[in-house]
């Protein structure tokens, strides 16, 4: 049995989630309390010490991130809930913390609750640290949580040289010659890193533009990266690639 708290400033959102939990998850989730503000949320966490909090992002004029920052040691797991907030969702994606889009769909709630079981409280606090880091640090110093087979890795984005796709897996090549295999598609990484000066030069290669050593002209051409790898640029991507390079 997981004990939980819902923190959301809109009562109808709380009501809806409460009902969904009672209807289908009464045997796995026990709802201890709900809170309508960041301050009330912090108090409730201290009082009930829950295993899980459902945390809204925009809470009155403050944010769920504020709550994480102020609630002291994180001894619980988190599922964010939000309606439509690009910036926040992007920040959450980097941390790999689970999130639900409102209005919440039953299937999504089941998925999120299943995923929670695999994440330790300790890792949750590290994931929250990624969010905190990314919100306070400049773009280039951002971090990324990468779930691998049995552990979570927290890496600096600027240490990634390139990502290579292998059907449903992606291999990340880092500056320190480390290779990480992740069970995510390259498309997911492409979307995640689109604003971070990463560029997909080919169906199977996403590269960090900061690590380009040289570009050889040709039909599509090819790039040589700092670690010596030479990669082909797809003809269809050439134009956009050169444009992006010129912008840097």
């Amino acid at each position: 049995m997981i004990t939980a708290i819902i923190i959301d400033d809109e009562q109808h959102c709380i009501d809806r989630l409460t009902k969904m939990l009672a209807r289908h998850h009464a045997e796995t989730v026990q709802l201890l309390s709900t809170a309508g503000s960041v301050e009330a949320g912090i108090l409730a966490i201290k009082e009930y010490n829950p295993d899980l909090i459902f945390l809204d992002i925009q809470i009155l004029d403050r944010s769920g991130f504020d709550l994480l920052r102020e609630c002291g040691e994180i001894k619980f797991r988190i599922i964010f809930t939000t309606a439509y907030d690009r910036f926040a969702i992007q920040a959450i994606k980097f941390s790999a913390i689970g999130y639900l889009l409102k209005p919440i769909e039953e299937d999504d709630l089941v998925d999120a609750l299943n995923r929670i079981k695999e994440i330790s409280v300790e890792n949750t606090s590290k994931m929250a640290a990624v969010i905190e880091n990314n919100l306070s640090q400049p773009v280039k110093k951002k971090k990324l949580t990468i779930p691998t087979g049995n552990e979570l890795l927290f890496i600096n984005i600027d240490s990634i040289i390139r990502c290579h796709s292998d059907v449903n897996y992606t291999t990340i090549y880092k500056k320190d010659n480390q290779k990480i295999v992740v069970a995510k598609t390259l498309k997911e990484f492409e979307e995640l890193l689109a604003d971070q000066d990463f560029f997909r030069i080919h169906n199977s290669d996403l590269i960090n533009l900061a690590y380009i050593k040289s570009y050889n002209k040709g039909k599509g051409g090819s790039v040589v990266l700092n670690d010596g790898t030479q990669l082909e640029v797809s003809t269809r991507r050439k134009e956009e690639f050169l444009k992006k390079m010129a912008e840097l």
Partner: protein
Amino acid sequence: MRSFFILLFLLVFTCTTRAQKSELDSLKNELLLHPAEDSVRMKILYYCSFYYYSENPETGLKYADELIALAKKKDDVFYLGKGFFCKGINYGSAGNYTDALAAYKNAKLFFEKANVEKYTANVNNSMAVVYQSLSDYPRALEIYYNNLKFFERLKDSFMVALTCSNIGLVYKYLGQYPQSTRYHQRSIDIQQKLGNLKELSDAYNNMGTTYQEAGNIEKSLDYYKQALSISEPINYSRCIASSITNIGIANSLLGNHVLAYQYLQKALPLYLQNGNMLARAEIQKILGEIYLSAEPLFFTELNKPISKRYALANEYFDSSLYLYKQLNDIAGQAELWKQFSGLYETKGNFSKALSAYKNFATLKESLLNDEGKKRVTQLEMNYSFKIKEDSILAENDKKSMMAASEIKRETTIKKSIVWGSAIVFVAALMSFIFYKKRRDSKQKQQEAEFKSKVSDTEMKALRSQMNPHFIFNSLNSIGDYIGKNDPLSADRYLTKFAKLMRLILENAEQKEVPLADDLKALELYMQLEALRMNHTFTYEINTDESIDLESTMVPPLILQPFVENSIWHGFANKKEDGKIIINVKRDGTDMISCTVEDNGVGRKSSAFAKDVSKIKGEKSLGVKITQSRIDILNKIKNSKAAVEFFDLSQGLRVEVKLPLALNF
């Protein structure tokens, strides 16, 4: 209610009033009398072009071109500048802002070379007016501020005052009223000191409009009255007319209908004299509005039968509409049709009210398109601003080199015939360069227009995807489930609906999306509709194995209108067993073919024919939008995308052929 005021976007040449026909005729005569290609002819050409900008910009442009050609020949940099300046004014008057700015930039180059700083400042002023027309107020302000500094340096207080007025007007548009009044006050103070009564009365009027916009009608009335009291003794007719009009408008805003009526009636004949149709149209519209909304006392005081209220209003609206039509003023016409619609509605004539409202909606639509066009032009200008500036600088270097060599040649031309032929060669070269430049600017304009068409269509496509009909029907279904006490179905429907909206919003920002994403949205849409229709139809999506769904890109929701047609019209009378089959497959090496097939009533059926008026409108809209999206696609990609309809024995098949676009 649009407020009326005198625009002070003056140039030093102080000629904002429309040139009279007779003036133009005499100028044309003079031009005929002066065929000699000398400076006198240049001067006349200049005035011709300048005066024509309000009458007929096309003719004005012709004169400007002739002036430029002549000035080239004479190597008169000053008149070259004036020629381009005229070109700019005429382009601006015709609403062709891109070319106007280009011409002004050229004018600036030549004026700078001729070392006439004051004229450069004037060109700057005119450019600011263009930016203002494009609603690019920050840039207009920047230019005015620079000019202000320049005129302050010259200690030209008259121009300082005019520039302050312009700044005041821009701040008014920006809604920054305290700033606006500050600058107008400065203008008033200066003109008072200089004793320029004409300009002073204009400045009072401007100040009044700012207060009016800011909602301080009482104070604006004071300023209008002051303007009137100054302009009347000196017989400054233009300002007398606008002061009286403004007083009328302010009174009508205050609800003093009798006073408003009297002032506006007094203003009308004044505008008849100077031929200002816009003002007359505007005033008659307001008079109509006064008749519509005035209290009974108004009619007794003016000794008019209140029973004729609507007839009188109608009369004014009619003549106002006539004038707006003459002026080709779409916004004005739209506004009036809205008034007509309200008028008919109160009279209980609903069919007439509806048709008036339809006119209003159509005009408003075209107005929105124009706005979009304007915005695109502005964006395009912002985008290429830097590039253009760079290329102009480069050209400037080139031009000054040419000019230097030409001057040398002129000194030797008398001595040698060989040199003469060289000059002819250079002239030919120059005219070629100019021809090329003109061609280029035309091309640029076409490009801008094309771009605006693209964005316009995209906007419309988005609107049709988020078909309000569909949105409200979905909300209705949800409400229905709630009413039937079936919260679970309501919930299921709601979350799917939210998901689809999210997808549509995200995809709509993209020009192209992966086929997989687009099919997901389409499937969600069909799921929702199936739920709503109690599963009276089923669907099937088949994709060919040769297509990589992730890397094949398609324009978002290009098939949706056809699926919608199948559901809404094809299955309209079908109670069960409806079927939609979507097939996506490769077509040759460089195309993909997407088909939407249904077993509904098809296009020819009697049911269709019976309800044809209703169906036709909606059907053709979706198809029209898709068709124009495809046309644009073909233009951009030089491809052969197409939509084709095939009537089946039962149902309809629509085939959309798109160029195969791979992301990698």
